[in-house]
């Protein structure tokens, strides 16, 4: 019998991989900094060039932390949605959260009103984008939750989420049609996703909200496991389905909402990482899967970000392109090898 302890080695390996990916991520960038100096930045700061120290501490480390939170948050949300909807195609964005966030940002950037101009000027670009996308994400979520309370069938929530997604995309198209090239470009850049450019304060907010989301997930591990047998069995084992559904939806939207707010709608990771992890951990037990998915998500995001940096060049590719460009073929290859999806 495979008990949680039979996976100890895998977890240790995963931990090492995370550390290596973190090191790789911090040591690569447009300016090449020797590994020795990277260690020294943390151990013996005075021996390192000030400009390098600045690059590492104020640019690369915040970016790495963002990558870890974004990767693990989106992956955990993806797993939650896949279990709740018992659908391998579900991801963190099935509830329409990313569409809502996109709509919020589109209204801010593309809607050329005096109103949005003054918001942008008064609280700064990053914060107003974050605010707009959170507002968008949470209003869609609120609508979905209202509908969810009326519905008995969990599958209908999935469809309602998709409908809200289409609605938002349609509204964004209309906005885009009437906006200028400059505004469109600004919106496009946001939708490419970005892990950099976050200040420490912004990272604190991102971390705080994400931790709240992760904390809520702890309390639904047990009901999620019984949901693996379907809602009727889960109910017969004393699971409060509505409550579990509510906590799952709130945790997912906290995680994806805050992540999308600060780093844009990052595709693919949330859908693919749970599947990759299940290939590595041959189990459905959420007590093992959740931490495994969180760590794998962080590793994959760090690696994708390292690739996006195009080491030693001054270009940075959009992170959204990298996650799909490299991730999709890998997932296809792995699934063809294993031939099952669950």
């Amino acid at each position: 019998m495979k008990t949680p302890s039979s996976y100890n080695t895998t977890f240790i390996l995963l931990g090492c991989a995370l550390f290596l990916a973190l090191l790789l991520n911090i040591s690569l960038g447009s300016v090449s900094i020797p590994l020795k100096d990277i260690f020294n930045t943390f151990l013996d700061a005075d021996s390192v060039k000030t400009s390098w120290r600045f690059i590492i501490l104020d640019y690369r480390v915040p970016k790495a932390i963002t990558a870890i939170i974004v990767g693990s948050g989106l992956s955990v949300s993806g797993l939650l949605m896949q279990t709740l909807f018992r659908n391998p195609l579900a991801g963190p964005y099935v509830l329409g959260i990313s569409s809502g966030a996109s709509l919020g940002v589109a209204l801010l950037v593309l809607g050329t009103s005096f109103f949005s101009g003054s918001i942008l000027a008064s609280i700064g670009f990053n914060w107003s984008i974050a605010l707009a996308s959170s507002l968008g994400a949470f209003s869609v979520l609120f609508a979905v939750m209202l509908a969810a309370n009326k519905l008995k069938n969990t599958m209908s929530i999935l469809i309602i989420g998709l409908m809200f997604g289409s609605l938002s995309s349609a509204l964004i198209s209309v906005l885009a049609y009437f906006s200028s090239a400059d505004q469109l470009q600004q919106y496009m850049f946001w939708s490419f996703g970005s892990l950099g450019n976050l200040s420490w304060t912004e990272i604190m907010v991102l971390t705080g909200v994400s931790c709240l989301g992760f904390f809520m997930v702890l309390f639904i591990i047990k009901p999620l496991n019984s949901l693996l047998l379907g809602e009727n069995y889960a109910k017969s084992m004393g699971v409060n389905i509505k409550k579990t559904r509510r906590i799952t939806l709130i945790a997912t939207s906290l995680l994806t909402g805050v992540i999308t707010a600060f780093s844009g709608p990052i595709a693919f990771v949330g859908l693919a990482v749970p599947h990759l992890t299940k290939l590595l951990f041959d189990t459905s037990n959420h007590k093992l899967l959740l931490p495994a998915v969180a760590i794998s998500g962080a590793i994959i995001m760090l690696i994708c970000d390292s690739i996006a940096q195009l080491p030693s060049s001054e270009f940075t590719l959009p992170i959204n392109a990298i996650t799909s460009l490299f991730g999709a073929p890998i997932v296809i290859w792995l699934l063809i090898r294993k031939r099952t999806l669950s």
Binding site: M1, K2, K222, L229, S236, G238, K278, S284
Partner: protein, 262 residues
């Protein structure tokens, strides 16, 4: 003898059916039946007569239109979900969603009503799981994934899960629907053993009239709008089975104790 056994389920003047905003569909009304400890009861009736609705009402999945259902003298409406899950366990007909669960993990899920907030399986839980696997003769399957099981094995595993849940009442909805005759009889014998040797109260909805006639302690016959609950002898004596299908095609032969084609 029967009266000395503890009363587990009492259905009191209940009507079952569906209530929508516009109309009320009554499937059966004035139901008064009892279920005693350690008995194996088979619920028989033709397709669409409302067997599942009755089971759904008893398990509080669906509200009754009127009347009271008491389990161990407490109305099912007054049970907390946790207490209810320690009293009734289910074996359903629905297909399980795809997952990587092993047989052991499925049976272990039956211990959920007893485990702590994160589902830690204790020594006691492990004993219950081992015993459930042993009683259903599925110990050798422990490490198998459910996707690798045959229908017969899967059904035994789901029964093992219900046993591990350690409830006095086990309700099974057509547990032998897609099994061959060998596995049908194996399943029924197992349930009979659980009722006789372990004092479990077992309610099965089934179409296996022949097997039910040989193994059940009591039959519940569901006909248009009424339910007749009685011992085998009385049911046969009163010609109740004859009218079960209200059909010109088959008749019940009292001597052979089986249905024959007219």
């Amino acid at each position: 003898m029967k009266n000395s056994k503890q009363l587990i389920v009492a259905v009191k003047n209940v009507s079952i059916g569906y209530q929508s905003r516009k109309q009320k569909t009554v499937i059966a009304s004035g139901i008064n039946i009892e279920l005693h400890q350690g008995t194996l009861v088979c619920l028989l009736g033709k397709n669409g007569i409302g067997k599942s609705t009755l089971l759904r009402s008893i398990t509080n999945v669906q509200p009754v239109l009127s009347g009271d259902i008491l389990i161990k003298d407490i109305s099912i409406l007054d049970y907390s979900p946790a207490a209810f899950s320690k009293t009734i366990s289910l074996v359903l007909t629905e297909r399980l969603p795809e997952s990587n669960l092993t047989v052991y993990e499925i049976v272990a899920l039956g211990r959920q009503p007893y485990t702590n907030w994160i589902g830690t399986v204790t020594k006691t839980d492990k004993d219950f799981i081992a015993r459930a696997l042993k009683e259903t003769n599925t110990t050798h399957l422990s490490d198998q994934k459910i996707s690798e099981l045959s229908d017969g094995q899967l059904q035994k595993v789901m029964i093992a899960r219900a046993i591990a849940q350690d409830t006095e009442l086990i309700i099974l909805d057509e547990p032998t629907a897609h099994l061959d005759i060998h596995h049908k009889i194996e399943t029924f014998s197992l349930l009979k053993k659980l009722a006789r040797d372990f004092g479990k109260t077992i309610l099965i909805s089934t179409h296996e009239i022949q097997i039910a006639l040989q193994l059940a302690d009591e039959l519940w016959l569901m006909k248009e709008g009424v339910i007749i609950a009685d011992s085998l002898e009385n049911i046969i004596k009163n010609n109740e089975l004859e009218q079960l299908f209200s059909s010109d095609l088959i008749a019940f032969d009292k001597k052979l104790k089986q249905f024959i084609i007219k």
